[in-house]
Amino acid sequence: MNLIVSTISQGLIWAVMAIGLFITFRILDFPDMTVEGSFPLGAVTTVMFIQSGMNPELAMLIAFIFGNLAGFATAFMYAKMHIPILLAGILTMTGLYSVNLRILGKANMSLTKPDNIFNQFGLDKLPTNFNGIFLGIILLAIITFLLTVFLNTEKGQAVIATGDNETMAASMGINTTVMKFIGLMVSNGIVALTGGLIAQQNGFADVNMGIGSIVIGLSAIIIGEVIYPDVPLSIRLITVIIGSIVYRLILMIVLQLGFNTNDLKLISAIILALCLALPSIRAEFFKVFRDGVKTK
């Protein structure tokens, strides 16, 4: 029971990151590798500032802003310097590794201060792991609400149009460069915020904790889409959250089956590859189902 509660709690916290990734991956329609750097950036910034005596909320706000800056760097290379987006993201991610080491001063640091976001506002009085669930739900409610409201503004629609059809957007006078900056900055801000959350939940920050984070975020998005194929954008954000929880449950089951935790990243990658391949597998399956297997 406790295992399931902790799994759901993890799923909810990681869902925050998946929502951030959704902005670039689905709305702007490109994969942004920056997150593998902005995620640990958020973690090290949050831990560093809390350790220096700052209150956790303020530390996370700064992590968010640092995430914005990481997004800015990628957007600058991509939208201004015309470096392909995949490469621009990898460049920022690689550069951030050193930045994160500089901020932390070493490869990892424990959170020794008593205050963190999980024991504020009376959250510590909740039973174990329920503080994560509670905090996750509150944060997700705020972020999905703000994002939905933004996407329904004129500016939000311009961001969607940029990702949907850049030629059309430009011919309608939308400054597509600015829209890419907005999307990348907000996205990486949210990802860095999640990095700060995870660091506080785990009690430490590590410069290597970003490895594979994009796979976790994408899995949540893709699983949400596989379970609920055709839904409007505002509901889509909720399916991402459900996808994130389902993904954690799948991982939990796999680990319960006795797989080694060292193989976790390999298993994550295989799960995501399977989910991405599912539409093709399904189509193939129905073809065989309909036509039968042809033999010469």
Binding site: A161, A170, M172, G173
Partner: protein, 249 residues
């Protein structure tokens, strides 16, 4: 009468490894209010480059472009969009597939205007949009349909409506019916002509279709190797027959 747009010795040169190519080679053109100019030319004659030069999608290498006497040669696409709209040949290029018809119209209504951080007010616009698309039967009751679910003809009709929902100073049609089947193409062309006349629009239309070129518009120009080799006014165009055009191809 003062021209809306004036192209003054416009040139577009590209440099290959060892050859230089003048895609536009000294184009002089005055477009007057309510002109409906048909542009003909073979592939590679410079038609698309001419449209790109006018919208600002592609900067010219020499010459000047004036809009209402104002030099806009260096202004970018986003800035010119306030005055110039364009319908593309490819039905995929003109609309946003994951948005509904109404959402697309809403985007188009603010063509060239700042995108503000305030509610888009979709519901409040619905009666106006319903009225607006009523002239185009193919889009009847389609306001809440996602554009990706529309046929090519419906998409092109929507692209056309998006180009005129906010009246442009100059409307550019880039073979906008060429990708459609003959009947749909003829229907859209007729609707286009009707709308241009009733809304008193100024239009530049590129086409490959000689009978369309003869039937529509009040002026006709033929482009060849980046030069205007024929420029017919209203009277000359009225006498024009399809056979007369063949010698230019």
């Amino acid at each position: 009468m003062k021209p809306i747009m004036e192209l003054d010795n416009v040139e577009k040169t590209i440099y290959n490894d060892d050859a230089t190519l003048n895609i536009l080679d000294g184009i002089n053109l005055k477009i007057y209010p309510q002109d409906f100019i048909v542009v003909l030319g073979t592939n590679g004659a410079g038609k698309s480059t001419l449209l790109d030069a006018i919208t600002g999608a592609n900067k010219v290498t020499a010459g000047k472009i004036l809009l209402n006497d104002k030099d806009i040669t260096t202004e970018n696409l986003a800035k010119r969009a306030q005055f110039i709209s364009r319908v593309y040949q490819d039905p995929k290029l003109g609309t946003s597939p994951r948005m509904t018809v109404a959402e697309n119209l809403l985007l188009a209504e603010r063509r060239g205007l700042p995108r503000r951080l305030r509610s888009r007010r979709l519901k409040e616009h619905m009666p106006e949009f319903k009225e607006f698309i009523s002239s185009m039967p193919t889009l009847d009751n389609r306001l809440n349909t996602f554009t990706e679910k529309l046929s090519g003809g419906q998409r092109q009709t929507l692209s056309f409506l998006m180009a005129i929902i906010q009246k442009p100073e100059l409307l550019l049609l880039d073979e906008h019916t060429a990708a459609l089947d003959p009947q749909t193409s003829a229907d859209l062309m007729a609707a286009t002509d009707r709308t241009i006349k009733s809304k008193k629009l100024t239009c530049l239309m590129v086409t490959h279709n000689l009978s369309e070129a003869v039937a529509y518009g009040n002026r006709l120009i033929v482009l060849k190797k980046g030069k205007i080799i024929l420029d017919l006014n209203t009277e000359q165009k009225a006498k024009l027959k399809e056979e007369d055009l063949l010698e230019y191809f």
